[in-house]
Symmetry: C2
Subunit: 496 residues, 2 copies
C-alpha cells in the first residue's frame, strides 16, 4: 500500500476529477425518485447498477418485502488477499422526498440548476457549463449551489463516492479495504422493510465497520462526525366529550370539553421549561464529566441557533443544545379539536386529538416510555381504550381516552475512542488539517439501528452536505464547496 | 272583548284552520333562504309581505346597514282606540342555515317532505296529501314530522302565526292588542346589523312587551317559556414556537413547543370539573333560595340529558343543568396545531391556535371577562400581541401570545313575577291546562338584547317547536303536534 495521500494531494486529485463528475450528478438528479410513485425507482436502480459496475463493483438488486428493492454494490480489496482486510459498509439512499414543483424556484425539481447568490441575497441561476470553465478555489464558486431534489439528500454523496472511485481507479491507487455499499430506496418513507432485509441478507452485509453518508454537517459547516442518532416512537391520544359536537350554549358548563381535558392532560406531562415531569422518563441517562467534555467540544453558537429558529429562551432539558439531544423527547407534533379560524363553530367538540413523537436515546426503551405515559394517563383518572368509545364505554367511564403507540427507528450510539473512531478521525484530520467536530448524538433519526443490532458492528455517521440544504422541502440544494470536500472525504477514507 | 276561548275552543279552532295552512307552509318552506346567497331573501320578503297584508297587517320593508332588510308587519288593535291598548312586539326570523343537500334524506332541503316513523325507527316519507285527509288527534299523526330547512327554525312558527290570524279573522274574533312583528333576515349569521336597525327604527318598534318565537321547547316537549338567554363573546389565542415548523429531532428538547404552551395555559384556566379558576370570573352571580326554587321547578331528567349527549359525569359549574346555565362559560370550541392523522409530520409546530367562546349572563360584562382572561395570561408570563410576531418580538419576549376578542350578542333576563309574566303564563295555562315549564336562562343566544336595551321593555321567549328538530343541521324537521300546539299558543296569546 502506498503512503497516505497528503491534504494537498487529496485536493489536487479532487479538482482533477470533479469536472467530469458534474455530468453524472446532472443525470442522476434528473431521475425522479419518489418511492411511492410507480416507475420512479427503477431508472435510478439502472443508473446505479451501471455506475458502480463501471467502477469495478459487482452490483446486486436485493428484493425486500416492500415495493422497492435495495441496491447492493461490493468491491473486493485490491492486491491483498481479501480475507485479511477489513470490510467497510456504507449506507446511503437514493429515494427523495415528495416534491411540490410549484414551490420550487426553477422549472422542475428534477432539472438541476446551478445558482449563485445575487447582490440582493437571492439565488440566481447561472449556466451549468460554468462548472467546467470558471471553477477554482478562490473565485467564490465554492459558495455556488446546485439546486434539485436529492442534491443533498442523498444523491449528492453517492456521486461524490463515484467520483472518488473514478479518481482512485484512474490513478491506480489501490483501496486496502473490502467495500460494501447498501443503497436504500425507501429511506424517506421510514425504510419500513429495511430491518427485515438486514436480517435476510445478514451474511452478505457482514462488515467490520459501518459508515452512514447522509444528512448535514454541524451548523458551522465544518467537517463533522456523528456517533449516534435518536430513534423515534409515536403516540396518538384522543379524548372524548359529548357524543357528537354539541351546541356550546345548550351544553356549555355541563358537557365536559374534550379539548380542555386534553390540554390539562398534555400540560401535566411537562413543566414550564419543557422538561418531562413523568417520574422515570429520563432514567438511565447521565451526563458525566467525560460526556460533558465531549458535548462541550462541539462549537455550537447558542445565539446563532436561537436566531436561526426564532427562539429566545430554549427549553431546559439539557444545559446546552448538545445536552438536550442526549435525552428522549415528548413532543406535541399535532393538535386538533373541531375547527379554528373561519370554520370555527360555537360548539363543544366531540373529541380532541394529539399526536406526539418521542425521540429515543439508547437509555430509553420505547416500550418503557410508552408504559410510563400510559401510567401517567391512568393516574389522571382516565380509562384507556383502543377504539372509538361505545355507548357502554361512555356510560361506564367519566374520563375516556384512546391511546395508540408505535415504535419506529431505534436509536444508536457508538462510544468515543474505539479503533474505528481513531481510524476515521485520522482520515478526516489528514483531509482537513484538523480534528473534525464530533457529535455524540444527532437529534434526528436514521434507519440504521437494524444494521448495528443485527450485524453487531460500530457505526459512525459521516455527513457531507451543508446543513442549510432545504432537505425535505422545496429548493433543496448542495453547496459546491461541500461537494468538493465530500469527494475529498471519500478519498481520505479509502486511503487511510 | 269576548270571553277568553277555552282550551277546547282553542283546539277546535286550531283543527278547523290547520288543513288550509299546509299549503302556505309548503310554499314558504320551498323558498331557499340562505342570507349569504344573492337572490334568496327577496322572494321570502315578497311572500311575507303578501301573507301579512292579506291578514290585515300593514307591512314595511326596513333597510339596514346590511345586505338584507328587515320585514316589519303591524296590526292596529280591533275595535278599541289603539292608544289605550298594550302593544305586543314579536320577533321571528325567516332566514335559514346553509344546507348541504347531500346530507339530507330527501330530494331537496327546499322541497318539504312529510314523514312518519317506520317500524325500524327510521323516518319514511308519506304523501303530503295525508295532511288533508287522515289527520286527527288519536291516529298518531301528531308524531309525523315535516322535513325541510327552516321548518322549525324559524318559518314554522311564522306560518303558525299566520294560521292563527286567519282563524281569528274568519271567526271575527277581535284581537285586543296592537301587534308588531319584526322579521329578521340575518339571524343565522348573527344579525350583525340588528342593533343599529333597532336604534334607527326605535319609534316604529316601540311596544310594551316583546315575545321571541324561536327555538325549541324544553327537552320534555312540554309548553315552555324562557325568561332569558345567554350572550356570547369569543377569544382567539395563538401561541408561538420556533419561526416556522422545525424538525422534531433536530430541535426536540430545545425549541419550546407552542402546543405544549397552549395546553398548559388553557389547562390552567379551569379545574378538572370544568369550573373556571380565574379569580372573579363568576363574580356577581348568586343562586339564592328563590332562584334555586325556579331552577328546581324545571322537570329536567339528568339521566336523559346525559344519555342524549353521551356523558356520564357532567361538569360541576352548577349543581344541576339549569344552574350551569346561570353562569358564563369558557369553552374551547376549536384547537389546532400543525396536523394530526396521516398529515402529521415529525415537527415542532410554529404555532398553536385555540378558539374560545364565552357564553354570557347578565352579571358577566364581557369586557370584564376578557380583561380577566388577559390578566391571567399575563400572570403566566406571556407578552400579549395583536399581530403575528416580528423577529424583534421573538428576540425580546420568551413567551408570546396573540389574543383577539370579540363580543357578539348580549345576554338578557326578564325576572319572574312581572305583569307580562303573569299574563303570558295565564294564556299558556288556558291553552294547555297547566303551568308551562319556566326556564330562567336558556344556554344559547338570541339577538334580541338590542330590543330590550333600546326599547327598555321586558321580553319572554315562547319556543314552540320540538327540541330534537335538527336545527342548523341536515334533516331539520317540525313535529306536527308542535305545529298544532303552536297555532293554539298564538290563539291563546291573542285572546288573553
Amino acid at each position: 500500500m502506498a503512503q497516505p495521500l497528503t491534504m494537498s494531494q487529496l485536493d489536487t486529485l479532487t479538482e482533477k476529477y470533479v469536472r467530469a463528475s458534474y455530468n453524472d450528478l446532472y443525470t442522476f438528479l434528473s431521475l425522479p425518485n419518489n418511492s411511492r410513485i410507480d416507475g420512479h425507482i427503477q431508472p435510478n436502480i439502472d443508473w446505479l447498477q451501471k455506475a458502480f459496475t463501471q467502477r469495478g463493483f459487482s452490483v446486486e438488486v436485493l428484493p425486500t418485502k416492500g415495493k422497492n428493492p435495495l441496491v447492493f454494490a461490493e468491491h473486493k480489496a485490491d492486491k491483498t488477499p481479501a480475507g485479511k482486510l477489513k470490510t467497510l459498509l456504507f449506507y446511503m439512499h437514493f429515494d427523495g422526498q415528495p416534491v411540490q414543483p410549484a414551490d420550487w424556484q426553477q422549472a422542475s425539481p428534477f432539472t438541476p440548476v446551478l445558482k449563485a447568490k445575487g447582490e440582493n441575497g437571492t439565488w440566481q441561476p447561472i449556466p451549468w457549463e460554468k462548472l467546467q470553465t470558471t471553477y477554482n478555489r478562490t473565485d467564490g464558486s465554492r459558495e455556488w449551489r446546485i439546486f434539485g431534489r436529492s442534491s443533498s439528500d442523498d444523491k449528492g454523496p453517492i456521486v461524490m463516492l463515484l467520483t472518488a472511485l473514478t479518481a482512485l481507479q484512474q490513478e491506480h491507487i489501490p483501496i486496502p479495504y473490502n467495500i460494501k455499499v447498501i443503497l436504500d430506496s425507501e429511506e424517506e418513507v421510514g425504510s419500513p422493510h429495511l430491518a427485515d432485509a438486514v436480517g435476510q441478507y445478514k451474511n452478505k452485509l457482514q462488515a467490520d465497520f459501518m459508515m452512514i453518508m447522509d444528512g448535514g454537517r454541524h451548523l458551522s459547516n465544518q467537517p463533522t462526525l456523528i456517533y449516534g442518532a435518536r430513534g423515534i416512537a409515536s403516540v396518538t391520544l384522543t379524548t372524548y366529550g359529548p357524543r357528537g359536537a354539541q351546541h356550546s350554549g345548550h351544553y356549555g358548563n355541563y358537557a365536559p370539553n374534550p379539548a380542555l381535558r386534553l390540554t390539562q392532560l398534555l400540560g401535566s406531562m411537562k413543566d414550564e421549561d419543557g422538561r418531562v415531569t413523568i417520574p422515570g422518563y429520563y432514567d438511565g441517562i447521565t451526563i458525566d464529566a467525560s460526556v460533558a467534555r465531549i458535548l462541550a467540544a462541539v462549537p455550537d453558537d447558542p445565539a446563532l441557533i436561537q436566531q436561526t429558529i426564532g427562539v429566545t429562551v430554549p427549553d431546559k432539558v439539557g444545559r446546552t443544545y448538545q445536552e438536550a439531544l442526549q435525552y428522549p423527547t415528548l413532543n406535541i407534533r399535532g393538535l386538533s379539536s373541531a375547527h379554528v379560524g373561519v370554520q370555527a363553530g360555537t360548539i363543544i367538540p366531540d373529541k380532541a386529538i394529539a399526536e406526539l413523537d418521542l425521540r429515543l436515546v439508547p437509555e430509553s426503551d420505547p416500550q418503557r416510555l410508552i408504559r410510563l405515559i400510559r401510567q401517567h394517563i391512568e393516574q389522571k383518572g382516565y380509562h384507556i381504550i383502543d377504539h372509538e368509545p361505545t355507548d357502554a364505554d361512555r356510560l361506564q367511564y367519566p374520563k375516556l381516552i384512546q391511546m395508540r403507540a408505535a415504535v419506529g427507528s431505534l436509536p444508536f450510539r457508538t462510544e468515543f475512542g474505539g479503533l474505528e473512531d481513531q481510524w476515521l478521525t485520522q482520515a478526516m484530520k489528514r483531509a482537513f488539517g484538523r480534528e473534525p467536530i464530533k457529535i455524540r448524538t444527532m437529534g434526528g433519526t436514521v434507519p440504521i439501528a437494524p444494521f448495528i443490532r443485527t450485524l453487531n458492528i460500530p457505526a459512525i455517521h459521516v455527513p457531507m452536505v451543508n446543513l442549510d440544504n432545504n432537505q425535505h422541502a422545496a429548493n433543496e440544494n448542495l453547496r459546491l464547496g461541500n461537494y468538493l470536500e465530500g469527494i475529498k472525504t471519500w478519498l481520505a477514507i479509502f486511503t487511510e
